[in-house]
């Protein structure tokens, strides 16, 4: 897959910063990714976190975007991935490192720079640009 942003290509490396895929959890056990100042479901503080970066998830849906913004790889395959945490489900959006289908198992792979922040419309200092893409799990 081409990567004109110059960002890392998703090759496997240690999870350098698992905060990039850490769900927020409130006292009642509601989970969200990303975390919010308070739980959107019940309004309680999200006092705990759950690291999703070491877990295997399932592809809910995916698309390959062929017209991407400046500094974003093209094509850019994106997936919504569901993680089962006990009897709860929490979802995350991310690019994929290869072809996926609905229902496929994937695992998070750390990427230090997901797109070129300097080419992005949004102010570079306003957010983080690292995170996790999803790699198909070999059967």
């Amino acid at each position: 897959m081409s990567d004109r942003s110059g960002a890392t290509d998703g090759t496997e490396r240690p999870a350098a910063d698992s905060d990039g895929l850490r769900a927020g959890e409130c006292e009642k056990g509601h989970l969200t990714f990303p975390p919010h100042p308070v739980c959107p479901t019940c309004g309680e503080p999200q006092s705990e976190t759950v690291d999703l970066s070491t877990r295997t998830g399932t592809v809910v849906t995916w698309t390959t975007s062929t017209t991407t913004p400046p500094g974003v790889r093209e094509p850019n395959t994106l997936a919504i991935v569901a993680f089962e945490v006990g009897d709860r489900t929490v979802r995350a959006l991310g690019g994929t490192t290869g072809d996926v289908d609905v229902g496929d198992a994937v695992r998070p792979v750390y990427v230090a720079e997901l797109r070129d922040p300097e080419a992005s419309f949004r102010t570079q200092a306003s957010q983080r640009w690292d995170g996790y893409r999803f790699a198909p799990v070999e059967e």
């Binding site: 969200t32 990714f33 990303p34 959107p40 809910v60 849906t61 995916w62 698309t63 390959t64 975007s65 062929t66 017209t67 991407t68 913004p69 400046p70 500094g71 974003v72 790889r73 850019n76 994106l78 997936a79 919504i80 979802r91 995350a92 959006l93 991310g94 690019g95 609905v102 997901l114 797109r115 992005s120 419309f121 949004r122 306003s126 957010q127 983080r128 640009w129 690292d130 995170g131 893409r133």
Partner: protein
């Protein structure tokens, strides 16, 4: 206090040389002329605009407009609710009159976009997304692709190829309507094969599933119904207006194909209007992408979940069908100048309800607009009906 619409206008939609100030002025003066009033009669002036600062480095557009058209010293306010700014402007304009604060309010929606590349424009719009989404380079068209695959593979039980063709039929229908609308961006007939052969934008959706990038402006004039006849005998009543909000982070929704804020906003609007959805004769929906038309029809209650595509497949939403949807051509073919769109939806209903819609006229006494920001993130709806 019941509120009436007594004037409407829109500029040509498409690629325009004019920037936002000139576009807003054109629609504003057109609307005042339509109602036969002068700008110094205005108590309030609202501008619906998502991103003039981001698109062209111009802020303070409503102050500039008030000065340019001679509306001083009217109260002015800019309304931004991303792609739903126009509908939010209708809500604000209605509030200004219904509260008694204004006896005459002009609402002007407008956006200038086409001077930026499509990629840059998509990035400006994508800046409404959460940082964890934006970092991955997601765009609003990509959300359409994600939702469409879920719709085809998990929401519906039908043959995916048949559903895919029905989505194409939405675009075909809206192009067919737009060529009867002289203000629309596209005046070109297309067929299902054109859609299915067009370049992939966000698999499984293609170029002709999506609205274009558009410049344009539209305007509406509001007053208390009690004085509406001073301006026109054929005024239109704002029977209901409301809005609702869904998650900012799209993937936090349990089902990416359920437009929860559309359902909530419409329920509130119909309750205010004391009407049922079956009482609505014509719809102007937010078809930023073809899929959104069936998803809104499902959220509005016209079809069960996963079944909304059948209305397009069966031709029920054409101009001559039992439920005409987007007689103006919709976002797909009328065009989508962000802040103008929600206003233009109501301009179309104003023309339809007054019997002024020419070759695209439908038989209607009541219509509903649905204006969607983000990918269902924030929604406003209105019910307009024949006044007298």
């Amino acid at each position: 206090m019941t509120v009436a619409v007594v004037g409407a206008s829109m500029t040509d939609f498409g690629e325009r040389d004019a920037f936002v100030g000139e576009l807003l002025s054109e629609a504003a003066t057109g609307c005042l002329a339509d109602a036969g009033v002068t700008a110094d009669d205005l108590d309030a002036l609202y501008v619906s605009n998502m991103a003039s600062g981001e698109f062209e480095g111009t802020t303070g557009v409503v102050n500039a407009l008030a000065h340019d058209i001679g509306a001083l010293p009217a109260y002015t306010q800019r309304v931004d609710q991303t792609s739903a700014s126009g509908g939010a402007g209708i809500f604000a304009a209605w509030q200004s009159v219904a509260s008694g604060a204004s006896d005459l309010t002009l609402l002007v929606g407008g956006e200038k976009m086409t001077h930026l590349s499509t990629a840059r424009s998509a990035d400006v719009i994508a800046s409404l997304t959460h940082p964890v989404e934006y970092a991955h380079g997601v765009t609003l068209p990509a959300f359409g692709g994600l939702a469409a695959r879920a719709y085809l593979e998990t929401t519906t039980d039908a043959d995916p190829a048949r559903v895919r063709e029905a989505l194409a039929a939405v675009a075909v229908k809206n192009h067919d309507n737009a060529r009867r609308n002289p203000r629309a961006q596209f005046q070109k007939e297309i067929d299902v094969a054109d859609v299915l052969d067009s370049p992939v934008v966000a698999d499984p959706l293609r170029l002709y599933d999506y609205c274009p990038v558009t410049d344009g402006s539209a305007a509406l004039l509001f007053c208390p119904e009690s004085v509406a006849r001073e301006y026109t005998d054929d005024y239109v009543r704002v029977a209901g207006v409301a809005g609702a909000t869904d998650t900012h982070v799209v993937h936090e929704r349990a089902d990416p194909t359920w437009m929860g804020a559309v359902a909530e906003s419409a329920e509130r609007t119909l309750e205010m209007a004391d009407r049922h959805i079956a009482d609505v004769d014509v719809l102007e929906l937010h078809d930023m992408v073809s899929l959104l038309e069936p998803l809104q029809l499902e959220a509005l209650g016209y079809a069960d979940r996963g079944e909304g595509w059948r209305l397009a497949a069966d031709g029920e939403t054409t101009l001559s069908g039992p439920l005409p949807v987007n007689p103006s051509g919709g976002l797909k073919a009328r065009g989508h100048p962000l802040g103008a769109t929600g206003v233009a939806q109501a301009v179309e209903l104003y023309r339809q309800l007054r019997g002024e819609a020419g070759d695209r006229q439908v038989d209607a006494r009541r219509g509903l607009t649905c204006n969607v920001g983000g990918f269902g993130n924030c929604v406003t709806t209105s019910v307009l009906e024949v006044g007298p």
